[in-house]
Subunit: 304 residues, 3 copies
Amino acid sequence: MELLHTLCRIPAPSGHEAPLTEFVLRYVAEQAPSWRVQPTVLAGGEFQDCIILVFGKPRTAVFAHLDSIGFTVRYGKQLVRIGGPDVETGYRLVGRDEQGEIDCTLTVDEKTGALGYEFSREIERGTELTFRCDFRETDESVQSCYLDNRLGVWAALRLCETLEHGIVAFSCWEEHGGGSVAYLADYIYKKYGVRQALVCDITWVTEGVHAGQGCVISLRDSLIPRRSYVERIRQIARASGIPHQLEVEGSGGSDAKELQHGAQPWDWCFVGAPEDNVHTPDEIVHKADIDSMLRLYQVLMREL
Amino acid sequence: MELLHTLCRIPAPSGHEAPLTEFVLRYVAEQAPSWRVQPTVLAGGEFQDCIILVFGKPRTAVFAHLDSIGFTVRYGKQLVRIGGPDVETGYRLVGRDEQGEIDCTLTVDEKTGALGYEFSREIERGTELTFRCDFRETDESVQSCYLDNRLGVWAALRLCETLEHGIVAFSCWEEHGGGSVAYLADYIYKKYGVRQALVCDITWVTEGVHAGQGCVISLRDSLIPRRSYVERIRQIARASGIPHQLEVEGSGGSDAKELQHGAQPWDWCFVGAPEDNVHTPDEIVHKADIDSMLRLYQVLMREL
Amino acid sequence: MELLHTLCRIPAPSGHEAPLTEFVLRYVAEQAPSWRVQPTVLAGGEFQDCIILVFGKPRTAVFAHLDSIGFTVRYGKQLVRIGGPDVETGYRLVGRDEQGEIDCTLTVDEKTGALGYEFSREIERGTELTFRCDFRETDESVQSCYLDNRLGVWAALRLCETLEHGIVAFSCWEEHGGGSVAYLADYIYKKYGVRQALVCDITWVTEGVHAGQGCVISLRDSLIPRRSYVERIRQIARASGIPHQLEVEGSGGSDAKELQHGAQPWDWCFVGAPEDNVHTPDEIVHKADIDSMLRLYQVLMREL
């Protein structure tokens, strides 16, 4: 879990993913020699802050978003949301502007809901703030801000160790309306003919999805994937014997939005561990679900 | 109207259009030999559950969506909407899960609006339910669930009988945010250079649009088509002498959303009969409007 | 400011930009001989009512939208919005239908908010109405309807006079959900390899953005541009010594939405003067901000 801890600590709010991109590129350069197959690495330039890793002859692509929720400093002591963070007076926020490091606390006006910060000085306009990382690990769980989606990134990187054929794509802006999967999906489809996707992200513990009962296969959220593709995934999962749960939601979204609405005929399915305390500094995931998530990805990438 | 009745009975909620796709493909295979021109049939694989029929040298494409609204079984006895169905306690819903056929009734919690079902057993998570088809025909009207858009599919198939030049495309996911017209439009534009579209779908009876007064040409809904294209269509319609009505709305959408927002310069216009009791099991359309819809499509596809 | 006055007077609500397109094409044909570089002019056919001007070897594209907000006549004396115009009983609206010129007044029902008009006769269904232009100029400011975005069009046309390398694109439908930048961006990226954009549009005077303090560089609105690109723009602006202001908003959008969500890796930034009385017949902009907007565009197009 040391890799996960490192990933959770690197700030990468939507639009400013570059520091995490650089870390992942360094990690890949260092680790790839020990992987079963050496991937082609596509990054920089026309890929902006995204990364595509291509292994063997790919049939399926995994999408894991790098970015996180956060806040932008507006005027005076006001904050504006990046994505949909949970807000509570007292949350510790960190960042950096030209005057130096920032470690401040979030304030939420009780009447208006207006967001602000308390700090010893005024922070420069446009500065991004993210939750301060307090990483906690027990025998049973990990807890931190940004498990959504550093855990998805972690699972994707661990998947790389044994992957023979497939694509692993790291995307940007997922938490704030998207903006990179459209071109990643276009590139992958046109260059490799791949149009099967797995969305490697973290979902919610709900009345129907319980911590510790396995990785979630989502039958739908605000969008509905093509039934025939989801059925194939369910069959592979059942046959594998790996613990998993089925999710049915009417709201929520993921990188799949861009796959669904793009000009290529992607089939997609969301597969990921569930977390509690969603979009707070205290996101928590059961280790059994992390384990089944990684194993499920390994099987699916072999058999799809 | 036997064909229409058959189309209305086949369940095809957004994301699970395959049964209707198969029916249409069989119908085309059987009927095409008697059509004036034999179309090229594009289906399967990269077209997912969509179908494209290409006749002669096409200048204009007709888009008719296959899918319908419905419900997905969530947890316990909860339901989640597929698209925007009208809901009323007592509506009969049908479906199928691994335990067999389902014929249940919709429940709507009076206080919370929460959706559920009453049935002799629990239905499996993720099962789709659709309105039970009660098809009613008089001298003047047809009434059934899913006239939106089985009537559009019907008109498109009848149009095929005499079509010499043009494309008829059957799309998916229209009722639930779209997801196929983006790639159909891209394929058609790049392969055939076609960028004129008619959206073959059903609209609403309102204070300005009356049952029995002819097929509707929509000047706008939530989106605004290019004025010059709509004016050409109005002129052809006027010259044809076929009864028609003009619609102006501020809300509502169709497959045109994906044409408008895609990366190709499509001109589009919604042309279709109006219905009452929209998105209920009792959608009703005047036969005179069905007649003028088909005739208008025949003229427009000749003259545009 | 005579050119600006002329631009403000030509009606071009979203979907019916053609009259303004024709004016701009005539203007370009007349003026281009005196420009430093002769552009390639792309218009008509597959560009619908948009225009692309290509100068030299372009690295960056400027997007300025031609269309404005307005109203469509519905049924009876009802109106439906085009985009998001401010509404107040008494605003003068102009247009034209088959019965002739229209000069009427807007009515807003106090209880329901329903929009209508008062006029000596009924106006034909589907007719577009726009604010009547009352152009006012002082030493310090210009005031008129539709400075958003005729001032952006004006700045783009003035920029053409000295532009050596770059693309100036005039887009449609911006005020009503977009629909042209998707294909313009695709064409420009594929044909010229350009993926740096400046959105040449008008923003708002707010508590953090003041009239007369210079052109605005927007760090974000409802969308968040890539940080590294915006930082480059800020550095060029700082080095230039041209007065400018930084904006941070949580809402509002522009042609950038289509750049962000398209299937090409565009970097974009909104750069434009701020106005007060947004989307009313009385939009007002400080002349110092117009001056710094044009100068900033000249520098950015040289140095980006």
